[in-house]
Amino acid sequence: LAPWVPVVGLEIHAQISSNSKLFSASQVQFAAPPNSLVSFFDASLPGTLPVLNRRCVEAAVMTGLALNCSINKRSLFDRKHYFYADLPAGYQITQQRVPIAVNGSLSYSLCIDNKMSQMVTRTVRIKQIQLEQDSGKSLHDDTRSQTLVDLNRAGVGLMEVVMEPDMCCGEEAAAAVRELQLILQTLGSSQAVMAEGQLRVDANVSVHHPGEPYGVRTEVKNINSIRFLAKAVDYEIQRQIEELENGRTILNETRAFDSKLGCTVPMRDKEGEQDYRFMPEPNLPPLILYDAESLPANMDHQQVVNIDWIHERLPDLPSVKRAKLVEQYGILPEHSFTLLNEDGLMEFFENTVKQTQMKPRKVIGWILNDLLSYLKKHSLTVKESPVSSLLLGDLLNLLERKDITAAAAKQVLAELWKGEGKSPLEIIKEKKLEVIQDHKELEQICQAVIDGHENEVIMVVLG
């Protein structure tokens, strides 16, 4: 059988972290009482007009720069029409003709064959980033044959990030999204928490034989976590391969991922393609951005967005942070990934290093093996750790000074997890875990053991 080449592209919607919505002054807030954050414009009252939120533009520019995009100094807004209960105006304002940023790239890493020791870097091209409105939420109540509409989310700013089909499997898709998430969180342009709907991922999947044109693609939606993303993509790839190998065809359709069953199922009744009747948004003039060169002298800087100004103030991106960690502390690249992957872990590591004379290269083991696995086992975040970096630092100092052995240190740590407020020294004294340097004392202990285990001694002597 000829090999199959899976092709995966992603459309990611990231909710912009801002106080108010993209085109209106109502607040952005998660889980507020239904329809309590709805302005006249959000409710599509006749006669209301959109007013662009500057912060949302800045967020998109920041994100575009972080993803190596060209920022379009002139971009346009369009209306995308369809009827749905959660779309009060009957159209969404988006950027279809000329989006705010194009032609970028995102580098991400993943481990080959599940070993952290072998990491490879991949790149996915970013086709574009566009600003658009989020829709409201509709809840279908089938028992009462009604739909409940909550417009709190209607009009919240979104950045749609389109990743070209450069990925080949679930793992790559997941790694790419994870990296994007970290970037967005570092920039602060989106909190990107998937569970709160701040980051939504749709996957476009197709398969083909090498050398042949791309196959028909399906769109997979309803993916609620990065883990499910990998599963959904891999399942869909397999499903398509099976269909094709059994002589069937792939429909260009939208499928939903069912996390319980672990499979994708057909979703919307698409009846061929929807024509969105795109039209320029007549109430918004073209969005003009400036840089240091094009900024007119007498322009009120409150009225403009300056790309260079934003560029100068970008924080260190995850890739830069990782490189710095490796250089500064002599840890391995894969270590740096894990440090950044867990919220707060990098800070914890750095604080511990400050506390102790132990070399960072050795500290990292305690962080990644002991601390992290304990937290994972008990489903705790770094912030919730009963052992602080101070405490761990103290403990590691005792180990470094050879006051205790590594084995003893692990025992002390086990006690510290209980969070009873005892210091490492107190625990060591309690459990008599100090290293004994005195030869005479050691001899006594050994003798006592030998005396207490006659049978075993005989067996040992006999060989």
Partner: protein
């Protein structure tokens, strides 16, 4: 308190205490009642108007009026949002809709103490050129009942009374034009997308100003074509239009299409010397169907300027003849988009059909919109389809650019103002008007006014003379972008030359005690 005949401007009268805001308001309300057969008003906000008048009176008593508009009764076309007062757009879709906010222009008027008498009638959602296609019935032109018209309607016997003979106001701001024309208010707001303020102004013998696009905020004006709509101003003289403009123009942060520049209100100078003026006469505006009467009047007006020393030259706007189809494509496309929000969910009419969301939407929209609106939505959606977009919408935008460039060329060539007819004929009788459908009528009637909307230019109708049938004929001046001061100055000069007669209305005479009869300008 009864002002003497020949009393001057009403604002001065108010200031001088010769008439109080409450008296003024009550008189207007009484006149509205006695001219109810005109059907110019959809909603009369009697209670709130009297309250506003009382508050104004209090301010005058303290010697602290808010400005020249304080206490002045005005009316507003029913497609502007007014908080607490029903806004229907003359459509079943919005019957009972009470907006929670005021349109910016309404708010500005109220902030200056104007008294809001009510909401005036229009074609449904401002689609039409007759003010005949609204859900509350057609508006009647007050001139139908004027002595001037009636004495010319000799041929009709008395049994065939005014009922079948009345003429239309033109549209779509017919209610506002009729309201101003019949003295029920001193100024009114209309809207203008293809001529909807200038057309009824011409037919009703009042001044109708279409300002430059971007000068006055559209926030709260329920849109027809966002890229062409402007709030329009209807008054009985050009000076009043200048005062209204001064109160309304300026940047609105709520409307991103308003210009940022500061706007300075102006008083109109009394122009005496027109020798430095260059008046352009666009030959394409001698359009098919233009009545010989209006053609002659237009020519006479050109001569008027020439004889006074102005330079009058023939110019060409070659793409004029494409403006109708261009407008049709762009207008219907935006209409299809703007009407998408009317689904019965958040406000307005909602059908009882509740089998599914889709069926509820479809039934609501079928029940809520009239044929004209539905027709334009279907056309617009057709033009916006992916396979048609390039050939229709994009092409129309390109043609629009060409039409705009025509004006740029002419103005760059040294012309200051263009002089054209406003309408093809005087007002036709209703019975005749409805023989053709809305689409045909709009296409015919908009030809002289539309291009100014496409190019975003300011334009004004000035009542010029009475036709042979005793009905008003107006002529139009089109100016350069944001040069309203020049436009209105020239218009005022012209107004002074032509001395258009005052309407002689029985209803007004009965109520008259000098305030209305000899009043020219509302503001001093």
């Amino acid at each position: 308190v009864s002002p003497e005949p020949g009393s001057p401007q009403v604002a001065a009268a108010l200031k001088g205490g010769r008439v109080t805001p409450t008296e003024l308001c009550q008189r207007c309300l009484a006149l509205i009642r006695s001219t109810g057969f005109l059907n110019a008003y959809i909603t009369v906000a009697e209670e709130t108007a009297l309250k506003q008048a009382e508050e104004s009176e209090e301010r005058y008593r303290r010697g602290q009026p808010l400005g020249v508009l304080d206490g002045i009764p005005i009316s507003v076309k029913d497609n502007f949002s007014t908080a607490g007062i029903e806004t229907t757009c003359a459509s079943s879709m919005l019957k009972g809709y009470i907006s929670p906010y005021n349109a910016t222009v309404v708010q500005k008027l109220l902030d200056q103490g104007a008294v809001l008498l009510g909401k005036t009638n229009l074609d449904e959602f401002a689609m039409g050129s007759g003010s005949t296609d609204g859900v509350f019935g057609p508006v009647r032109n007050p001139w139908s009942y004027s002595r001037q018209y009636q004495e010319k309607s000799v041929s009709k016997s008395h049994s065939e009374d005014e009922e079948s003979n009345w003429v239309i106001t033109g549209g779509s701001s017919g209610g506002s034009a009729a309201a101003v024309s019949s003295f029920t208010c001193f100024a009114a707001l209309g809207s203008d997308t293809g001529g909807s303020t200038r057309n009824p102004a011409a037919h009703c013998g009042v001044v109708g100003l279409k300002p430059t696009y971007g000068l006055i905020s559209r926030h709260g004006l329920i849109p027809l074509v966002n890229s062409m709509d402007v709030p329009g101003i209807l008054t009985r003289c050009v000076d009043d239009a200048a005062v209204m403009l001064g109160s309304l123009a300026g940047h609105d942060p709520k409307d991103s299409t308003t210009i940022q520049d500061n706007f300075e209100p102006f008083e109109l100078p009394d122009l005496t010397d027109v020798s430095k003026l260059s008046i352009g006469i666009p030959k394409e505006y001698n359009a098919p169907g233009l009545s010989s009467e209006i053609l002659a009047l237009w020519s006479k007006a050109a001569d008027l300027f020439k004889n006074a020393g102005a330079k009058v030259i023939e110019v060409s706007l070659p793409h004029t003849r494409y403006s109708i189809v261009c407008y049709h494509v762009l207008c219907t496309a935006e209409v299809a988009s703007n009407m998408a929000r009317f689904d019965g969910l958040e406000y307005g009419h909602r059908s009882d059909m509740n089998e599914s969301t889709e069926s509820m939407y479809a039934a609501t929209r079928r029940e809520g919109f009239n044929d004209v609106v539905r027709g334009r939505i279907l056309s617009g959606n057709y033009f916006l389809l992916k396979q048609n977009y390039e050939n229709y919408f994009i092409k129309a935008q390109k043609v629009r650019r060409l039409i705009f460039n025509d004006f740029v060329k002419v103005f760059r060539g040294g012309v200051d103002i263009l002089l054209t007819p406003t309408t093809l004929s005087d007002a036709v009788p209703y019975m005749e008007f409805i023989k053709e459908d809305n689409r045909t009528r709009s296409a015919q009637d908009d030809i002289l006014t539309q291009a100014a909307n496409m190019a975003g230019l300011p334009a004004i109708n000035v009542p010029t003379a009475l036709s042979e049938r005793g009905l008003p004929i107006g002529l139009q001046f089109i100016g350069r972008s944001f040069q309203e001061k020049q436009l209105l100055t020239v218009a005022k000069w012209f107004e002074k030359q032509v001395k258009f007669p005052m309407i002689e209305l029985e209803a007004v005479k009965r109520l008259d005690d000098g305030v209305f009869q000899h009043q020219k300008s509302a503001f001093s």
